[in-house]
């Protein structure tokens, strides 16, 4: 354990402290100069790109958690039934999670990347207009969210499947004796029993979606304009492309603050008495 602890201190604790200092300086990654105090943080709140990134990060987190939960639960319920070839089905459902993100995005480009991509062929076939998924602000946001949901469904599905299998069978028998129908059983037995795993899952999904760089960067690089820039992408841009390490680090620290708020909120939720 000691080696790991040392590594954690070197790679996490030290960067945190030094990032706090860096976020109060100006200059580039090559040469920082001058202590400016809270100026970088103050300037963020009048920075339109930052406010837009904050908003997109929140929308991205909330919609992708909700989306992958709904689909993940649906597939988990489906796979819980004794279907033929259930093992094979499960492996195939895991594909979006297993493949590298570079491959996932390349695949999605074949679906939505151009006027002649699959989704547009389909839209035209049913008499709709061509959609420019990646160059229209709204569609770009929707596309990034859909792909994030698609990538996350398998993990949510697996965890919920494990949760479903842990539910005590006798609860269902009791519900049947009380004359509950399927829908009532689902809302009064299944969902409440999944509460703990669902809270932990939402927490993990919140962390992973707020910290997501690859989906956004590989698909849109934050564009068009700055429609799909999240905090991490913006922080990367300022630090490594625009040579403003102070602002970049300040944004990275704000990302951590957003996450901590989310985590404290969901832990409160978890501790609430029944």
């Amino acid at each position: 354990m000691l080696p790991t602890l040392i590594l954690l201190v070197v790679v996490v604790a030290f960067p945190l402290v030094s990032a706090m200092y860096l976020s109060m300086t100006k200059g580039s990654l090559m040469k920082t100069s001058g202590f400016v105090g809270w100026a970088n943080y103050v300037s963020l709140f009048s920075n339109r790109e930052f406010l837009s990134a904050l908003r997109f990060t929140a929308i991205f987190a909330v919609t992708s958690i909700a989306g992958c939960y709904v689909f993940g639960l649906g597939i988990a319920l489906l796979l819980q039934k004794t279907l033929p070839a259930r093992g094979l089905l499960r492996v195939l459902f895991l594909m979006p999670w297993v493949i590298p993100s570079v491959v996932a995005v390349a695949g999605w480009r074949q679906v939505i990347g151009s006027e002649d991509a699959l989704a547009n062929l389909f839209l035209r076939a049913i008499g709709q207009n061509t959609v420019y998924f990646l160059s229209d602000d709204t569609w770009a946001v929707i596309s990034v969210i859909v792909i994030k949901i698609w990538r996350s469904i398998p993990f949510v599905m697996l965890s919920l499947l494990a949760g479903l299998q842990a539910i005590d069978r006798s609860l269902y028998e009791a519900a049947a004796i009380d004359g509950a129908n399927r829908v009532q059983t689902f809302f009064n037995v299944t969902l409440p029993q999944l509460k703990t795993v669902s809270i932990v899952l939402s927490l993990m999904m919140a962390i992973w979606s707020v910290n997501d760089f690859e989906t956004v960067w590989l698909l849109t690089q934050g564009g068009p304009g700055y429609a799909t820039q999240n905090l991490v992408v913006l922080s990367y841009l300022y630090t490594f492309k625009r040579s403003n390490v102070g602002l970049g680090t300040a944004i990275a620290i704000m990302t951590l603050v957003v996450l901590m708020v989310l985590i404290v909120m969901s832990l409160r939720q978890q501790r609430q008495p029944k």
Binding site: T4, L22, L79, V102, A106, A252, L256, L259
Partner: protein, 276 residues
């Protein structure tokens, strides 16, 4: 639940297979695209290919630095695997066998790492690795990949050690084995599948990693497969066929390893991610 009629069973199966097919469309398009010429791909007004070719694979393997990328990826993946496995096994063992305030702090700090924005670590660490002259070498990528892998694999290894009864070690201790000796000679061999899964998981994570590698590796000779393939997109904008072939070549080891160990990876990911 087992008294489903054949009719409902059939329709549920239908729904499941339709959902699987829908979800795998992007993957299938990559595979199909890799066997078509780029001009064919952009001109076909349909998805069903009219002719298949291996030309893309030939181009990628013979005329691009694919093997250099692959060698770099393997170096990073193997380095990360070895480092992660050693650290995770030692830490997981301690977490499974002892209780102390330090361990509690440690397990919290693992959780913190799990939520830490990678970019926040990259910024302060970048100048240090530059001073050390390690930019464009595998070293920073291996170290950072290991750190961000650790929460997952440590929890995984802990859950494996939890399943091994302590009596076996005690017997070894009585026979004169040291604590580390017992871990090395008795416990680790018994947790063979656990060690395998930790290794496979770390390997896959490092092999597929994009963000860290793209920050630290900038020269053509140092790129990994994911970063290198991404370069195809920018340099040869229209060469979709080559890109798809590169994607398939990159996906292949990932899929083989995953199918080989999927049962354990799934178990480990669920315990590592959710119980932590």
């Amino acid at each position: 639940m087992n008294r489903m009629t054949w009719y409902s069973r059939l329709s549920l199966s239908g729904v499941a297979w339709a959902a699987v097919a829908l979800m795998n469309i992007p993957v299938m398009l990559v595979i199909l695209g890799s066997f078509q010429t780029t001009s064919n791909m952009s001109s076909t007004a349909g998805v069903i290919p009219t002719s298949l070719t291996l030309a893309n694979y030939e181009t990628v393997l013979a005329r691009t630095p694919f093997f250099t990328y692959l060698a770099n990826s393997l170096t990073i993946a193997i380095g990360t695997t070895v480092l992660s496995a050693v650290l995770a096994l030692l830490a997981g063992y301690a977490m499974s066998r002892y209780r102390s305030p330090l361990l509690t702090v440690f397990s919290y700090s693992l959780f913190v790492v799990q939520m830490f924005p990678v970019v926040l670590v990259l910024i302060p660490v970048f100048p240090i690795f530059r001073e050390l002259g390690t930019i464009n070498t595998p070293i920073p990528v291996i170290i950072l990949c290991t750190v961000f892998n650790l929460p997952f694999v440590t929890w995984m290894s802990r859950s494996y050690f939890d399943s091994i009864p302590t009596e076996i070690e005690e017997a070894a201790r009585i026979d004169g084995c040291s604590q580390l000796g017992a871990l090395w000679r008795i416990v680790i061999p018994l947790s063979g599948p656990g060690v395998a899964v930790i290794s496979v998981f770390s390997f896959l994570a490092a092999f597929n990693e994009f963000f860290i590698a793209s920050v630290f590796l900038r020269t053509a000779n140092s790129l990994t497969v994911p970063v290198g393939i991404q370069m195809f997109v920018q340099q040869y904008t229209t060469d979709w066929g080559n890109l798809m072939a590169g994607c398939v070549l990159m996906m292949l080891p990932t899929l083989i390893l995953f199918f080989f160990a999927q049962r354990y990876i799934v178990h480990g990911a669920v315990t590592g991610g959710v119980k932590g």
